[in-house]
Point group: C2
């Protein structure tokens, strides 16, 4: 029976055109991360399941994780997210390295999800984290970095916005104002998270199960309508929560002073699904009306190192998925044309006798950093030109009997149509022609 040629369900084959696109995006991400003095890292593909049990939340563990028992009877999982891994790694070295330390990675992750637009079971996700920054400043830098990457990819505040909230603020409002227990407050997170996805009646029904007092429920609906920092501040003032929200208000003040409010908006529904967040949480949203989706998410987590019995070390980080980002860049026409490979030189031999010289000359040209494709077997010039038209070659190099006898090659510039014969001994001239200097 013939085997299936399709990739495993929910995964993707990256053929060269897709892979060039992925490389373009990843190279930009790496470049800009390095501009921010973030250092690269990576962790293993598999982790022991316990690592996720501690702080990632029930949904991830119960429904989404790819876990199995290995041959040594350990329960392991293919990494569904990177934060637990980076926390584990930070726990190993945080005593020795200068703080804050800044790391980024672009791992492949897997979650058992229903494949749909923007979501695959195997996905690539950029991650950046800063550990040990003073209150509020790591958050600012992470937002600057997120903006920097989006801008590096050609996006502006017309294309995207960053919707932001703070778990401490939410907890204050939910627990102090609505008089909920921490467990009840957590249930109310899920209602807030749903506000843009389901209708008002459904929200009220869900809310009624958690907040029984009508006045308090009304306040919750008021909270859900806040959509900017000014109204939020007024709400806090009216409800006597200013003093409890000082850290967040100082942070908002910085956002305003540092010109980040061009990108960053308050959003009461942003709470993030993962258990470990303890402060600022945010998502990058596509502003395009037909593609209103989160393309990145992150936040601050104060206590993740404690699961390794290490002292608390505050971290802030975010993840940015390749699939949603690519959709975003495509929607806004921000991608360069990467369909065709760009090769400098197509070399062909018109006489079988030139095979040896061509193989050796191609190798020499490549050693000067010039990409060279050699056509195999005796070729007619016309066939070489037809092939040259298919891809983005800049030059065509031919060798036939005549050139062989003179120890030369014929070089044609495919843009200017200029053509010349050059001695194959004269590598300086040959490389100068290809490098255009």
């Amino acid at each position: 029976m013939a085997l299936n040629k399709a990739p495993y369900k929910g995964t993707q084959d990256f053929f060269p055109a897709q892979m060039r696109l992925r490389n373009y995006v990843f190279d930009k991400m790496s470049e800009i991360s390095e501009h921010f003095a973030y250092e690269p890292y990576d962790g293993p593909l598999l982790e022991e399941v316990e690592l996720y049990m501690a702080k990632s939340g029930e949904e991830l563990i119960n429904d989404q994780i790819y876990s199995f028992i290995d041959r040594g009877d350990r329960k392991v999982a293919i990494r569904p997210e990177m934060t637990p891994t980076v926390a584990r790694m930070a726990a190993q070295v945080h005593r020795e390295v200068t703080k804050p330390f800044r790391w980024y990675a672009i791992p492949n992750l897997m979650r058992y999800e229903k494949p749909q637009k923007g979501r695959l079971r195997e996905f690539w996700q950029y991650n950046a984290d800063i550990f040990g920054a003073p209150e509020g400043l790591g958050e600012i830098e992470i937002l600057q970095l997120a903006v920097g990457i989006m801008k590096g990819l050609g996006a502006t505040h017309e294309h995207f916005e960053i919707l932001l909230n703070d778990r401490r603020l939410v907890d204050n409002i939910f627990q102090k104002l609505f008089c909920l227990s921490p467990e009840e407050a957590k249930k109310l997170y899920k209602v807030a998270d749903k506000v843009k996805k389901i209708d008002e009646a459904a929200i009220k029904k869900m809310t009624a199960l958690i907040i029984t007092d009508d006045k308090k429920a009304e306040l919750f609906y008021q909270y859900l309508k806040l959509d900017n920092f000014t109204d939020l501040k007024m709400f806090l003032q009216q409800n006597d929560l200013m003093a409890d929200s000082q850290d967040f208000l100082t942070f908002v003040n910085r956002l305003e002073k540092f010109a980040l409010t061009t990108y960053v908006k308050f959003d009461p529904s942003i709470v993030r699904g993962l258990d470990y967040y303890t402060g600022v949480v945010f998502e990058i949203f596509d502003k395009h009306p037909e593609n209103r989706r989160a393309i990145a998410g992150g936040g601050a987590y104060a206590n993740l190192l404690q699961i390794f019995n290490e002292p608390a070390l505050p971290g802030v980080g975010f993840g940015l998925g390749l699939v949603t980002l690519t959709d975003f860049l495509t929607t806004h026409k921000l991608l360069p044309d990467l369909v065709k490979a760009s090769v400098d030189v197509l070399m062909a031999y018109i006489s079988p006798a030139a095979e040896q010289e061509c193989f050796m000359l191609a190798q020499k040209i490549r050693s000067f950093g010039i990409s060279t494709e050699l056509m195999f077997g005796e070729t007619k010039p016309k066939k070489a030109f037809t092939q040259a038209e298919k891809k983005h070659y800049r030059f065509i190099v031919l060798m036939g009997d005549e050139e062989m006898n003179k120890n030369e090659v014929q070089i044609k510039n495919l843009e200017t149509r200029e053509q010349q014969n050059v001695s194959i001994q004269d590598m300086e001239k040959i490389t100068r022609i290809f490098k255009g200097n």
Copy 2:
């Protein structure tokens, strides 16, 4: 209970110093592959197990594969090698793309092996393959590419050699000369494979179980002693096998003419463990007496697309693992110093009032492609200089009350010790200083 900080058994955490090393090696591999007009691709992390059952061989399936049943009852495996995936992908597109086509990838793979020097359970492996090349020429180019990558990493023929054989040749000798069935010949592969690892007596014992005729066994020992193409040719001549070995002899002739014999040597023990090879097989060996190990392996496979019910399409490829390659580069001192991050600018504020300006200026400087680390919180100049000494910063930028009042920053070149104050409005001058022009 505290969680384990160590990575899962047999896997590796890549902290920034190791990751910079990995990036250095991968970037070189990609760069040189592109010089050879190889295009990047990638496949999924998981494949259905059947893909490996077809052609990878028993050892891989029974002992080394990480397989499990997914939530949809499919038997899947974490990819233990890349060739079946690239064949599956080639099977999808080979009708549409111009042949030959050339692809490379640098995937992470997993095998359930006993962790030891040069071997981890999760490992990164460069792979390059060419499909649809005429007989013998794809093999030549793949060897040129292997040499090109090794040279690109600073290695010469003094550091490594390529040991090569041909399965067709081996089958001819084993089946025609020793009168073995294909199954017996395959068993004899394993004896050949062991010749450098176990002593002569053990080899003879193993051989006796397969070749009962003493004269033929003697011929096999003769074969095992061949260590260059000249002696091999003599052996073939003496045993009347020249006519049957024409393809390989033509290939050897090309190796000689194309100056590849500087690197490539005949080795009778190279047969490769994977079932799918059908022609030339080779391994790159470290020549260092204390590190005599294979750092890469590959070969030609003619029939891999048939498992997808597609017509045969000849392929040639090789894989080069990161761990063994890094050991090789370390042994021969070919690695640059990548322990420290290289950041252009360290910026610090000596007065809390300068925080806003510094955050905004750092962001501006980065947008010109200059890597800039901002020290958080009010800092003393001495502390900034101490930190600057720790990493490879090229410049230090300070802003205190005095500079604030004049709208300036103080910029110090840490190499020349030159120091100057520059207006923060004058981004042209600031970037010119950092770019050194």
